[in-house]
C-alpha cells in the first residue's frame, strides 16, 4: 500500500504535477516543507524589524508611506506562508513558539543592523534582489500551496526591489553625504547578500533531496552567480564600488569571478552570534508577550458572544 502511494507521489513529482495538502506525501517531504516554509515565514516577520527601524525617521512623507507599505507587505507574506504551513498540519502559534525558542531559524541577513537611510535602499536592492533570485523558482515548486503563495510574494518582492534601487539612485546621485551613505550601505550589505544563497554546493547537506523533490530547482552556487552577474552592472550604473578587490569579468565563462566568501562569518551569524540575533528575537518575543492579554481578550470575547447568541437562540426556540 505504502509502496503504491510512494510510486504515485514520485510519478507526480516526475511529471511536474503539484502535490496538494490532502495528497499522500512521504514524512520527510512534509518535514522538509514545514522547515522551509516556516523558516521563510519567520524571515518575513523578523525581516520587518531592520526596515521598520527607519519608518519613524523616513526622510520624506512619500518615503515614509512607501516604507510602511513595504514592511506591511512583508507581514502579509508572513501571513500567507504561515497559512501554507498550516496546510501541512502545524499550527501558526506552535510555529511561532519555535521561532521564539530558537528552535526554528530565519534568514541570517536580518541579523545585521540598519545604520543609515541608504540601508533601506540597499535592503530592497540587494536583499530583496537575492530573495527574488531564490524565490522565483519556488513559484514552480512541487507543493501547490507554497508555489501559489510564492507567485504573489514574488510580484511584490520585485516591486520592493525596484523601490530599493530607486532609493540607491537618489542617494548615489545626491550630496556627498548621501553618496557616502550609499557606499557604506553597499559595503555592509554586499557580502551578507551573497551568503543569502546558502553554503557552497559541496557543503549544502539538504540540497540534493530538495532538488529531487522539485522543492529546489537551482543550486546555491548557480543562483549566487546569477545574482552577481545581474547586480554588478547595476552597481556600476549607480557609480558605487562593490567591496570585492577580486571581482572581475571573465570573458571566457561569461560570468563575473568574485572573491572568497567568509563562511566563518556566515556560520557565526547562523549560530546566533551576529550583530543583532539576540535583539531581533527578543523584540519578537516581547511583541508576542505584550500581546498576550490582547489575544486572550479577543478569544474570551468571541466565546462570550457565541454563548450569548446560543442562549438567545434557545430562548427564541
Amino acid at each position: 500500500m505504502e509502496m503504491d502511494l510512494l510510486q504515485r507521489f514520485e510519478a507526480y513529482i516526475a511529471s511536474d504535477k503539484k502535490i496538494e495538502p490532502k495528497d499522500w506525501m512521504p514524512d520527510a517531504y512534509r518535514k522538509t516543507l514545514i522547515r522551509q516554509i516556516s523558516q521563510h515565514a519567520h524571515s518575513e516577520i523578523v525581516g520587518m524589524l531592520p526596515e521598520g527601524n527607519w519608518i519613524s525617521r523616513a526622510p520624506s512623507l512619500k518615503r515614509k508611506a512607501i516604507l510602511m507599505a513595504k514592511v506591511q507587505d512583508e507581514a502579509g507574506h508572513g501571513l500567507y506562508l504561515y497559512s501554507a504551513c498550516e496546510t501541512l498540519g502545524v499550527q501558526r502559534d506552535d510555529t511561532i513558539a519555535d521561532l521564539h525558542s530558537g528552535k526554528a531559524k530565519y534568514s541570517s541577513i536580518f541579523n545585521y543592523p540598519t545604520l543609515n537611510w541608504a540601508d533601506i535602499g540597499a535592503i530592497g536592492w540587494l536583499v530583496d534582489g537575492a530573495a527574488i533570485m531564490n524565490q522565483v523558482p519556488l513559484c514552480k515548486c512541487s507543493y501547490g500551496p507554497y508555489a501559489r503563495a510564492m507567485v504573489r510574494v514574488c510580484k511584490e518582492e520585485s516591486f520592493h526591489q525596484r523601490q530599493g534601487f530607486q532609493i540607491m539612485m537618489t542617494m548615489a546621485g545626491g550630496t556627498e553625504d548621501q553618496k557616502a551613505m550609499a557606499q557604506d550601505a553597499l559595503n555592509r550589505w554586499w557580502w551578507p547578500s551573497l551568503m543569502m544563497f546558502g553554503p557552497p554546493d559541496d557543503d549544502s547537506p539538504n540540497s540534493a533531496q530538495s532538488m529531487a523533490w522539485n522543492i529546489k530547482r537551482f543550486s546555491n552556487d548557480e543562483l549566487r552567480e546569477k545574482f552577481v552577474d545581474l547586480t554588478v552592472p547595476q552597481a556600476d550604473l549607480l557609480g558605487l564600488t562593490i567591496p570585492d578587490p577580486d571581482l572581475k569579468w571573465n570573458e571566457e565563462t561569461g560570468h563575473y569571478e568574485f572573491g572568497e566568501i567568509d563562511w566563518s562569518e556566515f556560520k557565526r551569524v547562523v549560530s546566533g552570534h551576529g550583530p543583532c540575533n539576540k535583539e531581533r528575537i527578543e523584540t519578537r518575543r516581547t511583541a508576542w508577550d505584550n500581546g498576550e492579554w490582547v489575544r486572550d481578550a479577543a478569544n474570551a470575547h468571541a466565546e462570550k458572544r457565541a454563548a450569548r447568541r446560543a442562549a438567545a437562540d434557545t430562548a427564541a426556540a
Binding site: A75, T170, W293, V294, A300
Partner: protein
C-alpha cells in the same frame, strides 16, 4: 496667519502625528493581523496628512510643500490636537486614542465632504471612506477589550480614563473654525460634539466600559501649546532632513 492655512494645518497635523505614532507599531503588534491593520491605518493617516499639508502649503503661497511643513516646523508651530500626540503606550492605549479620534474624524470628514472648496471636499470624501473603516476597527477592539477578560477590561478602562481629558481639544472652536463654517468651506468642530457623544455612548453600551464622572479637559494643541511628548516625536521624525538640509530624498 491665513485662516484657511491654519485650519488645514490642524487637519494635516492630526493625521501626520497619528500616522507617525502608528508606524511605530509595525513589527510589534499583538498578532500579525493587527500589525497589518495598525500599519495600514497609519498609512492612511500619512496619506491624508500629505494631501492636507500639500493643500495648506499651496494656500499659504510661500512655496512650502508637504515635506517642508512636516519636517521644518518646530513643535509650537504644530496645530494637532493633544490627543494625537499622547504616547502609543500599550495596545489598549493606542486603540482608545484611535477610537476617540475616529469617532471625531467620521463626523469631520463627512461634514468637510460638503465643503464649498472642491479640493477640501475631494480630500474629505476620500478620507471619509478611510475613517469609516478605521472606526470599525477601533470600535471592534474597544468592544473586544472591554468585554473580553477582567484584565483587558481593567486595562482599557484605565486607558479611557487617561485619554478622555484630551478629547475636548478636538472640538476646539475659534474664529478660524467659525469663519470656516460661516463661509461654507469648513466645519466648526464644536458642531461635531453631539454626533461624537452618540457614537461614544453606543460603544460604552456594547463594551461595558464606563465614562468617568467629570473630566477637566486638557487643551492647547490648536494654538501650538503642546505636551512634552511632541518635541521628542518631532526630533525623531525630522532628524534626516534637518541634519542634511540640502539633500533630496
Amino acid at each position: 496667519m491665513d485662516a484657511r492655512f491654519d485650519y488645514l494645518l490642524r487637519l494635516g497635523d492630526d493625521a501626520l502625528i497619528l500616522g507617525q505614532q502608528l508606524g511605530l507599531w509595525t513589527g510589534h503588534g499583538p498578532a500579525l493581523e493587527e500589525d497589518i491593520a495598525l500599519t495600514n491605518i497609519g498609512l492612511d493617516q500619512i496619506g491624508q496628512a500629505r494631501a492636507w499639508l500639500t493643500l495648506a502649503g499651496r494656500i499659504e503661497g510661500q512655496g512650502r510643500d508637504e515635506d517642508r511643513l512636516a519636517y521644518f516646523r518646530d513643535q509650537a508651530e504644530f496645530r494637532n490636537a493633544l490627543l494625537c500626540e499622547r504616547p502609543n503606550g500599550h495596545f489598549g492605549d493606542t486603540i482608545v486614542r484611535q477610537f476617540l479620534f475616529d469617532t471625531y474624524a467620521v463626523g469631520l470628514h463627512e461634514g468637510l465632504s460638503r465643503s464649498s472648496d472642491p479640493e477640501i471636499a475631494a480630500i474629505a470624501r476620500k478620507s471619509a471612506k478611510e475613517s469609516a473603516y478605521h472606526l470599525r476597527h477601533s470600535r471592534a477592539w474597544m468592544v473586544r477589550l472591554g468585554d473580553g477578560t477582567e484584565e483587558s477590561h481593567a486595562k482599557v478602562q484605565q486607558s479611557l480614563d487617561d485619554l478622555l481629558p484630551y478629547v475636548g481639544d478636538l472640538f476646539h472652536s475659534d474664529e478660524a473654525t467659525q469663519n470656516a463654517a460661516v463661509e461654507g468651506w469648513g466645519v466648526d468642530p464644536a458642531e461635531l460634539r453631539e454626533g461624537w457623544e452618540a457614537r461614544f455612548n453606543e460603544m460604552l453600551d456594547e463594551s461595558g466600559l464606563t465614562c468617568p464622572e467629570s473630566v477637566p479637559e486638557q487643551t492647547g494643541g490648536r494654538v501650538g501649546r503642546h505636551t512634552e511628548q511632541l518635541s521628542f516625536l518631532l526630533a525623531e521624525m525630522q532628524v534626516l532632513p534637518r541634519t542634511y538640509p540640502d539633500a533630496q530624498w
